[in-house]
Amino acid sequence: MKTMLGKRAVSSLISLFVLIVMVFFLSRLTGDPAALYLPVDASEEMRQNFREIHGLNDPVIVQFGRYIGDLVQLDFGESLRKARPAIDVVLEAFVWTLWLALITMALVSVAAIVVGSIAAFNVGRPFDRVASVLSLIGASAPDFWIAIVGIVVFSVSYGLLPTSGTGTVWHWILPIAVLFIRPFGLILQIVRGSMINALGSPYVKTARAKGVKNRPVIFVHTLRNAMLPVITVIGDQAAALLNGAVVVETIFGFPGVGKLMIDSILQRDFNVILAAIMVTAIAIFLMNILIDIAYALLDPRIRT
């Protein structure tokens, strides 16, 4: 288990490094920073001055070394638009996204596991049919459309919920509801399939032949085995939300990382973009390690 986590951490670090390299050089490929950051009518002198301050006259490899050195100290430079350290701006937004993702995924996981399991026990009956059709629709409906319909119905027509912002609990309902639908549909399908599989498995037959009661057959023997594939999908979906739900956050004016990234791209605030990419990448790597740990805890075959 420890060696597995060690390997996982090393491979995560390698991917992280590759990501850093790509982000650095890609941002250089977009053009001369002096031309991009400064106003169009800036004089050549101003540009030269700008390059001098930011070390843009040094060889690229030296710049890269400096960039890495700063990264290690979590120094992403200043946000050009907000005149604050970029990392502070990003972390502030990331906390919002983190809460949004955590609450959504907690609700999704519980709901999908409960509904998916009930559907699996009632294969082919009305409950199963309805759940399957709804989950399919949920998994394939585009979230921008659901978001807009949600606003039209609940905010505009009935005035029940606010359209955007974060002031009260009510502000959270629509974004969470919209983000809920797709992962719920997907995970429900996986839970249902996995549960049907586990219920028909030989070890369940053994448990019944041993005279184990119904409840432990389901909750002890079946559920734990059925959860293995489900955890992977929950992890994937959580990672997607951590990445910043760009569309949903933008539509609802939710001050998370997704919205921050879009705003920063539009404002060419490169330091913030880089910091946001790094923070979400690290979050996703940590998330994957958590999933691995959960998987190993559930399945002894992974541990050895």
Partner: protein, 542 residues
């Protein structure tokens, strides 16, 4: 008081499937007494396991439906009892073990807990349940039982897993143990050990043992009485000796005739140059040596059988020869030419000469292709064999050669039975007109009567087309009927190499002798002799 411990009377079970109603068993009756072993003998689809599932209440209803009959346990009809009452009997008074112990043990819980669970499910306190589990693990011969309690199923060998299943079933000293193909997936020597263990435990506890099997050898070795099932009916019953010597029903006779290991042995007489020479072939995985230097020659039209138990390296030889895995050392000379060092490109044209038939035709045939596509694909890859205009005729010809019909060409693999699928796999191999066919356990998944047919087919192809075979098998009687030479493998090494007659009539090595003695014979008298031989060998070993 009831006449018998367990009695099944006039039981009929049917299943509602998408293809309509399937009558699994029709009005079958049998009984089992204390201390007695009854075997239910049948091939796949005979309904031999259905009555056991009905006894254990393991039939899902729907799609299953019990249309008539009684299951009397101590004189009380189980079918009239409540679900809860039947649950209380399961594991406590009637227990069951299954064919595939790895699948039937829960992979995510320690085995000690799984054994103790049987006792806890029937109200025993935790300490007592664990104490019983430990005692039983020791009794069934699990090494270091205390430490093994906390291990998981994947950390045990196949034989040990079946021992664990037995321990799990016997925690509460049931009156009846149902064993559904308990030794089918096990190596011969392990099979003999597990059957002996069951017998000892039966003597200790006086339980009735219901043994469901397709193997006449298991019946000869272990049963007091047997019933023979075919197509959901009991066609015949009696003691193993009565059945073997005085079988009345044609189906029983057919089964007995199909049992391998009774035919004439072959005497190879070839002094030509060998077409295949394998020299010092080796394979290591990291520091583990799977194959430690294997040598043999093979002549055209001859069959070399490679026998050994799981993990002996017998399949590795085939995989290395065909470049399915890189070898770690040694040479393979095919018609005088070294082929291990060839690049994939150079290997391409040679591949048509060396073909392989695998164990499981369900998995080795692409389910989305028709039989025509499966067979003719070979000619797409090797276009020089046959012009496209002749494909249709040739496919029809090949299908007839393997005992199928030309009109089968347009069907998909799932529309065939296991034996037919293996015939398709053989036709596919023949399409390339190979000089050598490697059969990796090619008949071991088939029912005995089908097995006999497929072996006969292979023998005919060998004689008619002069194809050489490498026949990898764990089943010695089949090898005895089919091979010219035998290579006995153990732990990556050749233990003994000789003609089939020498190996079977005068085995020189202790391991070969043990392997032969562990094999089960369908003749109860031969089997009794072999059994004393086995026990004697075990005694000298100890």
């Amino acid at each position: 008081m009831a006449d018998h411990l367990l009695e099944v009377r006039d039981l009929s079970v049917r299943f509602h499937t998408a293809q309509g109603i399937v009558n699994a068993v029709n009005g079958i009756s049998w009984h089992l007494d204390r201390g007695e072993t009854l075997a239910i003998l049948g091939e796949s689809g005979s309904g031999k396991s259905v009555s056991a599932s009905a006894i254990m209440n393991l039939i899902d209803m729907p799609p299953g439906e019990i249309t008539s009959g009684q299951i009397l346990f101590d004189g009380v009809d189980l079918l009239k009892k409540s679900e809860e009452d039947r649950r209380r009997l399961n594991g406590k008074r009637i227990s069951m073990i299954f064919q595939d112990p790895l699948g039937h043990l829960n992979p995510v819980y320690p085995v000690g807990w799984q054994i103790a669970e049987t006792a806890m499910a029937h109200g025993k306190p935790k300490d007592e349940a664990y104490a019983r589990a430990l005692a039983l693990m020791e009794r069934v011969g699990i090494p270091d039982p205390k430490a093994s309690m906390d291990k998981y199923p994947h950390q045990f060998s196949g034989g040990q897993r079946q021992r664990l299943m037995i321990a799990m079933a016997l925690v509460l000293k049931p009156d009846i143990l149902i064993a559904d193909e308990p030794t089918t997936a096990l190596d011969v020597t392990v099979q003999a050990e597990v059957l002996s263990l069951l017998e000892e435990l039966q003597e200790e506890t006086g339980m009735g043992l219901l043994l469901i099997t397709h193997d006449l050898g298991v019946v000869a070795e272990a049963a007091d009485r047997a019933v023979v099932m075919e197509g959901g009916h009991i066609v015949e019953s009696g003691t193993p000796r009565e059945l073997y010597h005085h079988a009345q029903h044609p189906y029983t006779r057919k089964l007995l005739a199909a049992a391998p290991g009774k035919g004439e042995m072959r005497d190879p007489a070839s002094d030509e140059q060998p077409i295949l020479r394998v020299q010092n072939l080796q394979k290591s995985y990291g520091s583990f040596a799977a194959l430690k230097g294997v040598n043999f020659d093979l002549h055209a039209g001859e069959t070399l059988a490679i026998v050994g138990e799981s993990g002996s390296g017998k399949s590795t030889i085939a995989r290395l020869m065909l470049h399915l895995e890189p070898a770690s050392g040694g040479k393979v000379l095919w018609k005088g030419e070294e082929i291990l060092s060839k690049t994939p490109r150079e290997m391409g044209p040679l591949r048509r000469q060396l073909q392989m038939v695998f164990q499981d035709p369900t998995q080795s045939l692409n389910p989305h292709m028709t039989v025509f596509q499966i067979i003719s694909e070979a000619w797409v890859i090797h276009p020089d064999i046959l012009p496209k205009s002749q494909w249709k005729d040739r496919v029809a010809e090949l299908l007839e050669q393997v005992g199928l019909k030309p009109e089968h060409a347009l069907r998909n693999p799932h529309q065939f039975s296991g034996g037919q699928r293996q015939r398709i796999a053989i036709a596919r191999a023949l399409a390339l007109e190979p000089d050598l066919i490697i059969c990796d356990e090619a008949v071991s998944a088939l029912d005995v009567s089908i097995q006999a047919q497929v072996i006969a087919l292979l023998g005919e192809l060998r004689d008619r087309l002069g194809i050489a075979f490498i026949f990898i098998a764990h089943d010695l009687p089949v090898v005895r009927d089919f091979a010219d030479h035998v290579l006995v493998m153990q732990r990556g090494q050749v233990v003994e190499h000789g003609t089939v007659r020498q190996i079977f009539e005068a085995p020189r090595q202790g391991y070969t002798q043990r392997l032969l003695a562990a094999g089960l014979d369908s003749d109860p008298d031969v089997q009794a002799e072999r059994r004393s031989q086995r026990l004697a060998l075990a005694a000298t070993q100890a």
